[in-house]
């Protein structure tokens, strides 16, 4: 329900108001591309590769083409008639719109059938026959470092990122990026350390599983294209399509209504280039809507291996840390090289360590591509360094919380890159976990077959830099306000937050502010909705644009001979100036924080990030020693989100992120057999439901301020994921004395570890 734009003295920031779009969502009327149907629309059904790596010898589409109702079957040759070089990607131009010459993973798009009836398209797609000459394939990220199986014959960096330029033309390698950081002399410090600890941890490949599967619709006109897409990055889609087509940006319109979840799956180009070309080929609107199964073949989260070595002094201070991280990027780089670097530099954890060495590698393999998933690589790193940290504390017979506190990075101290920690409430988050876990109180450990344990973990993240957000805030002649911003509301509540920010500046109730959804013909440029950047970047842009509008309104008042104190009702200012209800003021602002790229040789930079995010967790678990089953009795999640704009939405973000991470921790895993995915459906790939919810959950945002953020705020979408996995593994060891070093923490893995600890290991199958 829209409220009247009556000026208010009530602060809008800090109000726990329901989302602006609540009515639309509870009545089933919210707009998603999923529901879009256009007159004359064709549906595309993708025919996919059945081999992990092979040369395409032949694609036979005759039987498919002969099916009644099939409009056309399209292969890479047709794509090239529109786009001669149809390779896309944010870091590398490595991904063809449809496979050319080679396929590089099972599930790669090879051909598309178009029909007015999606069932006809699907039936015909089954009749396509492709023959491949099998090539050797590589699946493991460590093997990919040295494998003779080479996924890409030649590396093709996009040119967007300076640190990838040296990769251009490189052959006989699967390494898409190597990032190195050297601070002090880790090797020497380790040699001289009192104690040295080394462990290796692994994480598994998982999938975002947005319940609105990826979907895009293209409409071509004579010289223009409109793309309706469930995308987190409409501006990027426009720029990349313009590059592929050789068109100016203003001939391409990309719009994104609400998204039914994103989590990083709906970034960069996914289906947009395909539907664009299909619509240009047919001159009809074309929709490609993936099934849940197909999402598993589109974008995933990196599996990783992380070897970590620490030197610790007699006083319990960590003096040196070496980190080697291998990121399994699958067949196409997507944003993996950014994950490798931007998250890679936080691999030593939130600790004050004098000597640090980091080697972080993005690898190509013959698996579905991996990209960003709620944390941009951070949850994989925290899993390793917080498991490792706990193991060290146990070995040293130190309290794990005290050991962390002793080594924690304080504000003003340099992080591994040399960038100073600022407004990063690591200490406060740890303190609150301690209190909420009742850490000092004796813990009931259970008896009999079910044993209880507790664990904690804390992680941090740098926000990706440098990125730009541009916003417009207009005031209408009746005093009502419209915010134009490209941030995509995929469930994080950005519409509401932006309305609260604009309302705060203009003294209007947030409920009265209209937020226009991302539409590149209307809303200004925004880098993307990712990495918890929007509230900080777009929030600042909206704040500045609203201030600009306020300034212009005051100028208008002066022109109209009114006092410029802002006390005249807005509508009166316009009426006085224009003689009737007419006119607008348009406030604009662009926001880009400063940034210094890391030195290529040392990985060091004095300005790695505009802000730091902090998240920590505490878990109490019950482990059934007879079955290995782990029950989460209590899960505490604490984050530094600066000053919340909307405390209710912030709490939901923190707990929602932690429950998602609980799935990645306890059971989610893409199971492969020689490159063939065995569980590409919700029947076989389980995501958390109500029964998986911990019996008790505690969620808290610490009292904090991000001084450079809009009204003290910063991003919150990912922080709830950081600590969950290691907190639970640490609790399991606390309960039953076994240490798991690979995710997920399934009952079978716990039981195997228990049996191995009793010198009665189970056989392999």
């Amino acid at each position: 329900m829209k409220r009247a734009s009556t000026p208010t003295e009530t602060p809008q920031v800090g109000r726990a108001i329901p989302r602006l779009e609540s009515w639309q969502k509870v009545t089933g009327r919210a707009e998603y591309v999923h529901n879009l149907r256009l007159p004359g629309m064709l549906y595309g059904k993708i025919f996919r590769s059945t081999v992990p790596h092979g040369r395409i010898k032949r694609i036979d589409v005759t039987a498919a083409q002969a099916v009644g109702g099939v409009y056309r079957v399209v292969t890479a040759d047709d794509i090239r008639s529109i786009v001669p070089e149809p390779y896309y990607g944010p870091a590398f131009h490595d991904q063809p719109i449809l496979a050319i010459d080679k396929v590089r993973y099972v599930g790669e798009p090879v051909a598309v059938v178009l029909a007015s009836d999606p069932h006809v398209a699907e039936e015909a797609a089954h009749l396509i026959v492709a023959e491949y000459e099998a090539l050797p394939a590589v699946y493991d990220e460590i093997e990919a470092m040295t494998s003779k199986a080479i996924v890409h014959d030649e590396l093709k960096p996009a040119g967007t990122f300076p640190d990838l330029k040296h990769m251009k033309g490189r052959k006989n390698t699967n390494v898409a990026l190597d990032y190195h950081l050297r601070r002090g002399d880790a090797a020497q410090a380790l040699a001289g350390a009192d104690r040295v600890f080394e462990h290796t941890f692994r994480t598994q490949q998982v999938m975002h599983t947005p319940l609105e599967p990826l979907v895009s619709v293209a409409e071509s006109r004579e010289e223009s294209l409109t793309i309706h897409t469930a995308s987190q990055s409409p501006s990027f889609v426009r720029i990349e399509l313009a590059r592929l087509l050789g068109w100016p940006e203003n001939r391409i319109r990309v719009r994104a209504p609400f998204l039914g979840g994103g989590f990083g799956a709906k970034l960069y180009i996914k289906l947009e280039a395909l539907v664009a070309v299909l619509s240009l080929l047919t001159r009809r609107p074309v929709k490609v809507s993936l099934t849940m199964e197909e999402q598993f073949f589109t974008i995933t989260k990196h599996a990783t291996t992380f070897r970590i070595r620490s030197g610790v002094g007699r006083d319990g201070r960590i003096t040196a840390r070496e980190c080697e991280v291998w990121w399994n990027g699958g067949a196409y780089a997507d944003i993996g090289p950014r994950v490798t670097q931007k998250s890679g530099f936080t691999a030593p954890g939130p600790y004050d360590i004098e000597h640090v060495a980091i080697d972080s590698y993005a690898l190509y393999t013959n698996l579905p591509p991996a990209g960003a998933l709620r944390g941009f690589g951070i949850p994989q790193l925290v899993w390793a360094y917080e498991s490792h940290t706990d193991m060290i504390a146990r070995e040293l017979k130190m309290d794990p919380l005290a050991f962390r506190r002793k080594n924690l990075l304080r504000d003003g101290r340099p992080q591994a890159t040399g960038t100073l920690m600022q407004d990063a409430a690591l200490g406060k988050v740890l303190d609150r976990i301690e209190t909420l876990m009742d850490w000092e109180r004796p813990f009931e450990r259970g008896a009999g077959p079910v044993r209880r344990g507790r664990g904690i973990a804390i992680g941090f993240k740098a926000c990706v830099a440098p990125t730009t957000s541009v916003a417009m805030v207009t005031l209408n002649a009746d005093g009502s306000c419209i915010v134009y911003c490209g941030t995509v509301d995929m469930g994080q509540g950005s519409d509401t937050a932006m309305a609260q920010i604009a309302g705060e500046v203009l003294r209007l109730p947030a409920e009265s502010v209209t937020v226009v959804h991302s539409d590149t013909d209307t809303t200004p440029y925004d880098m993307a909705t990712l990495g918890s950047r929007s509230l900080f970047h777009m929030g600042n842009a909206v704040r500045l644009a609203a201030e600009d509008a306020r300034t212009k309104l005051r100028a208008l008042a002066t022109e109209a001979g009114l006092p410029p104190d802002g006390d005249t009702p807005i509508g009166d200012v316009f009426r006085k100036r224009y003689g009737m209800q007419a006119g607008n003021v348009i406030g604009t602002a662009s926001f880009i924080p400063s940034y210094t790229p890391p030195d290529y040789a040392t990985g060091l930079t004095p300005n790695a990030t505009p802000f730091w995010m902090v998240g920590g967790s505490g878990a109490e678990v019950e482990v059934d020693t007879e079955t290995g089953h782990v029950r989460i009795a209590r899960l505490v999640n604490v984050a530094d989100v600066g000053t919340p704009i909307n405390p209710k939405i912030v709490a939901t973000q923190i707990s929602g992120a932690s429950i998602m991470q609980l799935g990645f921790t306890m059971f989610e895993k893409m199971e492969f057999d020689a490159g063939q995915l065995r569980n590409a459906s919700l029947a076989e790939y389980k995501i958390p439901g109500l029964h998986d919810l911990p019996r008790e959950m505690v969620t808290e945002a610490v009292d904090a301020e991000q001084r450079t953020g809009p009204f003290g705020a910063k991003g919150v979408g990912e922080s709830g994921t950081f600590g969950v996995s290691p907190a639970i593994a640490n609790a399991i060891e606390d309960a039953v004395g076994v240490r798991l070093t690979a995710l997920p923490l399934k009952a079978e893995a716990v039981y195997r570890a228990l049996r191995a600890a009793q010198n009665e290991p189970l056989g392999d199958d």
Binding site: P18, R19, E21, S22, W23, Q24, K25, V26, T27, G28, R29, A30, Y32, H34, N35, R37, G69, D117, H119, V120, E123, H208, T209, P210, L211, E212, P213, F258, L259, G260, G261, G262, F263, T291, M292, E293, M490, G491, Q492, G493, K648, I649, T652, Q653, S655, G656, A657, I659, M660, S681, L682, A683, I687, P688, G689, L690, H691, L693, M697, T699
Partner: protein, 166 residues
């Protein structure tokens, strides 16, 4: 493709007919022929609950329910009764508790919660978890959903019964 037939049913209280293929499911027909987008096919296996609709008062997975079987039935979707009228107690409670993020799964949760409260007017937390365990929310607004169900139960107890029990 198998041949199509005409079915007649009541949709959100109104008598309607549709020409449906033997393979077409209820979600496709609701979206394609009646412009109703609240029931959404997501997993396509009846496991996520996004496609929930009521057929003769019982919740079914619309992605698995062949439209032809709706012949002669009373079909109710989340869109029922919203325009003009206010939100019902369940919808109000979901708004107030902030029991959704992206909103894609919300219609399914709303319909299942109505059915839960019709059977158990005052459910405890275990009953809520059990009854709604067939609905998935990837944003994981589960704590808020439990809160919303409790709140809706309270609202319903305090409200006089409406003319039409849903």
């Amino acid at each position: 493709m198998a041949e199509a037939r005409t079915i007649r049913f009541r949709l959100n209280g109104e008598a309607v007919s549709a020409h449906v293929g033997a393979h077409e499911n209820l979600v496709e027909v609701l979206a394609g022929q009646f412009g109703l987008g609240g029931a959404r096919e997501s997993c396509g296996q009846g496991l996520c609950g996004c496609c929930t609709v009521l057929v003769d008062g019982r919740a079914v997975s619309g992605c698995l329910y062949l439209a032809a079987f709706a012949d002669g039935a009373e079909v109710t979707t989340v869109e029922h009764a919203a325009p003009g009228e206010g939100l019902d107690a369940v919808q109000e409670a979901f708004v107030e508790a902030g029991a959704f993020q992206c909103g894609f799964c919300t219609p399914g949760f709303v319909l299942m919660t109505r059915q839960l409260l019709a059977e158990h007017p005052d459910p405890d937390e275990d009953e809520i978890r059990h009854y709604l365990s067939g609905n998935l929310c990837r944003c994981a607004a589960y704590p808020e959903i439990i809160e919303a169900v409790k709140l809706a139960a309270k609202k319903r107890r305090m409200q006089p019964r409406t003319k039409e029990e849903r």
